[in-house]
Structure formats: C-alpha cells, structure tokens
Amino acid sequence: MRFLLDAEQREFARTLEALLAAADAPSAARAWARGDHAPGRALWDRFAKAGVFALAVPDESEGAGRLPLELTLAFEALGRHAVPGPAVETVAASVLLAGLGDAAPAQAWLPRLASGGALATLRGDGGYALDADVADAVLVVAGDTGEELWLVDEPGPAVPSHDPVRRLFAPAARGDLLARGPHVAAAAGEARAWAALATAAQALGVGRALLDRTVAYVRERRQFGVAVGSFQAVKHRLADVLVALEFARPLVHAAALSLDPVDIAMAKVASGEAACASARAALQLHGAIGYTDELELSLWLRKARPLRDAWGTPASCRARIVGAS
C-alpha cells in the first residue's frame, strides 16, 4: 500500500503541466467556441504527443496499455488549463472500440486516436455528442438494449451548451453499423466508466483552477481599504472549497486504481460537486467581473456544471452507490 504518486507519475504530471502552461489554452478555447478549431487542434497534437490519448489504448493497437491513473493526471491538467475538445469522448471511444473484440474497427481507428491524429466523440445518455462537427469519428450506441454501434456520418443538429466551448450535437443512429450484439453493450458500459473517470478528473482540475484564480484575485482586489481576501467570510468560503477538492482527489485516484463502478461513481459525485462549489465561490468572490464573458475565469466557471452532470449526473451516481440503480 502506497497511496502516493510514484516518481514517474509525478514527472508525467509535471511534463503535461509545463506543456500546458507554455501553451495558450484559453485562447484556443475561445477560438474553439467560435468554431475555429485550428489552435485547439494544435494544442491537442502537443497533448497527444505527450502520450495522453495512448493511455486508454492497448499496446497492440499502438497505445501505451491501459493506464487509468496516468489518465486522471492528464485530465486533471486538461481541466486545470481549460483545454477544449472531445478529449473525454476520444478516450471513451478508444475504450469502446478496443472492447469490441473485433479487430477491424480497432485497427482502423485506435492507432490514429492514440496518436492524436484523429478525434472521436460518442453520444452520451442524454442524446448529445460533444464536438461531433470536428470529430473524425462520431460513434452512437443505439438500439433498445444498446447493442448497436454506429459510425455516424453527420453530426446532427447543434445544441447550445451553457459552456460555448462545449459544442454539442445531437447525432442520429445512422451511417455505418460497426457492430451489433451484447458485446457492444458491454464495451459501451466500459467506455462510459472511463468517460466518467476522466470527467471526474477534469472537474477536479477545473475546480482547482477556479480556486487558484480566486485566491490570486482576492489577494489583490481591495475594498474598504483592505484586501478582500483578509475578510474572514471570504477566507472560510475558500477554505471549504479546498476541503472539498482535497477530499475528492483521493477518490479519483482510487477509482482509477480499481475501475470499480461504485468507486467511479463516488469520484464523479465528489469532484463534480467540489468543482461546482469552487465555481460558486469563484463567482461570488470575484463579484461582477466574474459574471462576465470577458474574464478568462468564465472558461472554467461555465464548465463546472456541465462536467458535474456529463457521463453520470450526481443523482445517477448516488443511486449506483446505494445500489438503487
């Protein structure tokens, strides 16, 4: 038992952090929201070169093997830096394709997904697929028992999200029927689990970014002649956010180690709620300036709640935890 990142994992996290700190992810996210995907794809390439998308792809498909813990480190960084794009969905698609047990679709797609050469997306339970317009592969699991897998040829109608960087589409199940049978449902279940785990990690990063920026702001901003951050109400609110985030992180790591559905559900609830608490505090303590589209903060503020709900709402996760689903 050593519930601590090892040196290699810490080094991986540091590399990603350095890579992202040097890139201008916020600008890429802004451009992405406008439908200009070029800066985001450039960023994505660098991220993929660091090996992020290989972490969910088996060795035999030119991946790094399955490394869920490293994946959570990557997604926390991705959340912290507001990287745009269907990263969670690309991971989920990789897991789904690899889980089919059919070599053909896996061979066709996995090497490209692992290398970052292709982006994939997957329709969620709510019927929406993130970034289906830019994704090279748009997957839809359909049928009464979820036993059909479609490679869709059209993104479907656009649906506006509260977070404009999250470009949603509602693809229909048509195009190529890639696979059919109970193994599709099983692989889709595994894909959803990985998606939930990656989303939990991403939410953690979003929550942390919001906290860090708010701490920096209240140290600078002065009202009534003193730094806003010296007010006890402000301090205690931020302390509670830190408590929530610091107790969510171990759940995310433990879920990565076990890939157990209940562990993932716990991680998803805790990190999603912590990110939302961080967002509420960030908004309140920035005051009106935080409520604007213009401030970079909005990139994280608007993401917290969609991530809390994506790939497992708190309600559905809690139901799983008490065995009611």
């Binding site: 509260h162 009534f224 402000v234 309140q284 935080g290 409520y291 604007t292 213009e294 994506a310 309600a315």
Partner: protein, 379 residues
C-alpha cells in the same frame, strides 16, 4: 391580522388577470439582453402602458393607477403567473422613479416619468466603477461645474441595460477632496447618446450584453438633470433605498410563479422522491417570501419604515433563486446543459443575485450589526 384582500383589490386582480390573459404573448419574446429582444420588450412596455398597466403604483398623472403596495404585489402575482415578459424598464421604474418622487422637481417628474412609463425612454443605472464594487462610496467619476450644468468624466461599469438603453442615472463626485467619501457626490441623469459618451457592452456569463461600461468624457448635463441638491447625491440615492425598494426589488409573484413551474416540471419528470424535498422547499420559500413581503407591506402601509430588514430580504431571495434554478436543472438531467432551455436564462440570471444590489457578504454584515447589534468589524 388577515390575509384576505378586500373586494376592490380582488376586482383589481380580476381586471389585471383578464387584461394579461388577453395580451400576454403566447410565446415569450427573445431575451431582453439582445437587440431584437430589447425592442420587443420595449414594445411590450408600450402595450402595458396603453392600458395603464406599466406603472400601476404611480400616481395617475404620470401614467399609473395610484394603487398601494399591496395591490402592486397582487399585480405582480398576476403578472408572473400569466408568464408575462420581463420588465426592460425595471431600472427606471424601481430605482430612478422613487428617487424622483422623493427628491425630484415637479418639472423633472413631468418630463421624465411619462416616457419612462410608456417604454419610450429606457433607463440604465450607472452606479459602479471599476474600483468601487461593494465600496460604493469610493466613486471617482467626476462632475465638474460648467455654464448651466455639469461636465461628467470618468468610467462607470456594470451598467445594466446600458447596451441598448436611452438614458442613465448615477452618482458623480462633484466636490473632490472632502473628508468622508460619502460627501460631495451629485445625483445626475444623462443621455447615453450625448457627445462624449462611449458605451462598451459587456457580455454576461452567457455572452449576452446584459451590462456595459460607460466612458464619459466631459459629457454635458444641464442643471435640470440634477436630482436633489448638488453634493447631496449619496443621501438622495440612499434615502429611497430604505423604503419600499427593500420590499419591491424582487417581487414575490416572480418566485411564486417559478415555484409552480418547478413543481409542474417535477410532476412531469415522474415525481422523483429524491428531489421531492427540494421541490417542497421551493414551494415553502416562495410562500415565505410572499408572506414576509406582505408583512413588510402591511407595516409600511401602517406607517412603518423598512430599514435594515431589507437585507434579510436580499439574502433570502438571492439564495432562494439559485436553489430553485439548480433544482430545475437537476430535474432536467442531461438537458440541463442546454443554453436554450426554458430555465437556462433564469439560472444564469439567478447566479448574479448574491452579487448585485449589495453583495450578500455586505448584507450579512448589515444584518449582524444593525439587526442583531453585533460589533462593527473591520470592513
């Protein structure tokens, strides 16, 4: 003590309800934070005004019906129950008009109020400045005396409605260098299209230009547009804050209607027991807010004043509004993310509640110090 309205009030309610049933558009107009929505809402104000429903509590000469605060509350209940559009003229009606009634001249009232009531002139507020959020008295924008009026210079921000509005009102420092920052401020009205005014719309979290920055460069304002005495602006602005406004900033009718919609949503979503308590709390909160307001209105009608308890009101409704909308989003499940859903704009708007009109931190300080008598802390 009773909660029964008299026959005249019920007749008034019936009249309002009938008018609204006949006039409220079946589909809501576009968001009033867009250019086309602003125009549609302005047209709706004119429609309200044509039948004297836009400013029911004002005296008749200015376009109102002279009803008391209780009937205003009844009107608001009917208004929101009917699903009528948001009020684009809110800033003028609820912030500037009460000040003009208390401190304006008869000439100002006659000139300013009727076009406000008809939606012809939409007013924006111009209080905040970049360095003055909660600390409003630290304002720096200047009003410098000139022949026949004043020249305004400086920067205002968070000016809600200003992206599309016609005129604005606010406080300006006319006597710099006084001992206390509350002194030497003047309350002025000015034209947003006057020479020297630059309006830079600011996008809200959902991207809509719900407020703007105003850059003022020697904007001329004639003496007739000073409200109250020069240098007395702080007192003028604050005196109206203490009375009805504490009760009417957010009308209970709005929350009663929202809570009903929420309960209907819960019903249609299958009455999930896991969310039942939060739906019940929304119903309780709307009723509590209505009753609290009725109690305040009754005290006010009996000659009382509304003081620091308006801070209770502010904290309550702002926290309530967020909880209500978050419950709605949770009921929507995956559709909660849709920015075009029926609860989306209300949710974004609710998030601003604890920030504007005095942050809830400030309100809690006021409650603790003025209502509970706790020691004043460092502020």
């Amino acid at each position: 003590m009773d909660l029964t309205h008299d026959a005249e009030t019920e007749a008034f309610r019936d009249e309002a309800r009938a008018w609204l049933a006949a006039h409220v558009p079946p589909t809501p107009p576009p968001s009033l934070e867009t250019r086309e929505g602003f125009a549609a809402h302005r047209a709706w104000e004119a429609e309200l005004a044509a039948d004297r429903w836009s400013v029911v509590s004002w005296p008749e000469p200015y376009g109102g019906r002279g009803v008391d605060i209780l009937r205003w509350l009844v009107f608001e209940e009917e208004y929101y129950a009917a699903g009528a559009p948001g009020r684009v003229s809110q800033n003028g009606i609820s912030l500037l008009a009460p000040t003009l009634f208390d401190h304006g001249t008869e000439e100002q009232r006659a000139r300013v109020l009727p076009p406000m009531a008809r939606g012809e002139v939409i007013w924006a507020q111009a209080w905040s400045e970049p360095a003055s959020g909660s600390d409003l008295a630290s304002l720096r924008s200047r009003a410098v005396r000139t022949d026949g009026g004043w020249l305004l210079s400086g920067q205002k921000t968070w000016s809600s409605r200003a992206a599309f509005a016609d005129r604005a009102f606010g406080l300006f420092r006319s006597e710099p260098g006084l001992d206390r920052p509350h002194l030497g401020l003047t309350y002025l009205m000015f034209d947003l299209r006057a020479p020297g005014v630059t309006v830079r719309p600011i996008g809200r979290l959902d991207g809509k230009p719900a407020f703007a920055e105003l850059f003022l460069d020697e904007v001329f304002v004639p003496d007739e547009d000073v409200v109250g005495a020069p240098g007395e602006g702080w007192r003028v602005a604050m005196s109206t804050a203490g009375n009805e406004r504490g009760l009417t900033l957010r009308s209970p009718g709005r929350f009663l209607a929202s809570a009903c919609r929420l309960a209907a949503l819960w019903d249609s979503a299958g009455r999930d027991r896991a969310l039942a308590d939060r739906v019940a709390d929304a119903l309780i909160g709307a009723r509590a807010y209505q009753l609290f307001t009725y109690a305040g209105a009754s005290r006010f009608a009996a000659g009382g004043v509304i003081g620091a308890e308006s801070s209770l009101n502010k904290v309550f409704w702002s926290e309530y509004d967020i909880a209500l909308h978050e419950t709605a989003l949770d009921l929507l499940g995956p559709d909660a993310e849709r920015a075009d859903g029926p609860w989306a704009e209300g949710w974004v708007f609710s998030l601003a509640g604890p920030i504007y009109a005095g942050t809830n931190e400030i309100q809690r300080d006021i409650i603790a110090e003025r209502l509970l008598g706790l020691p004043k802390g460092r502020r």
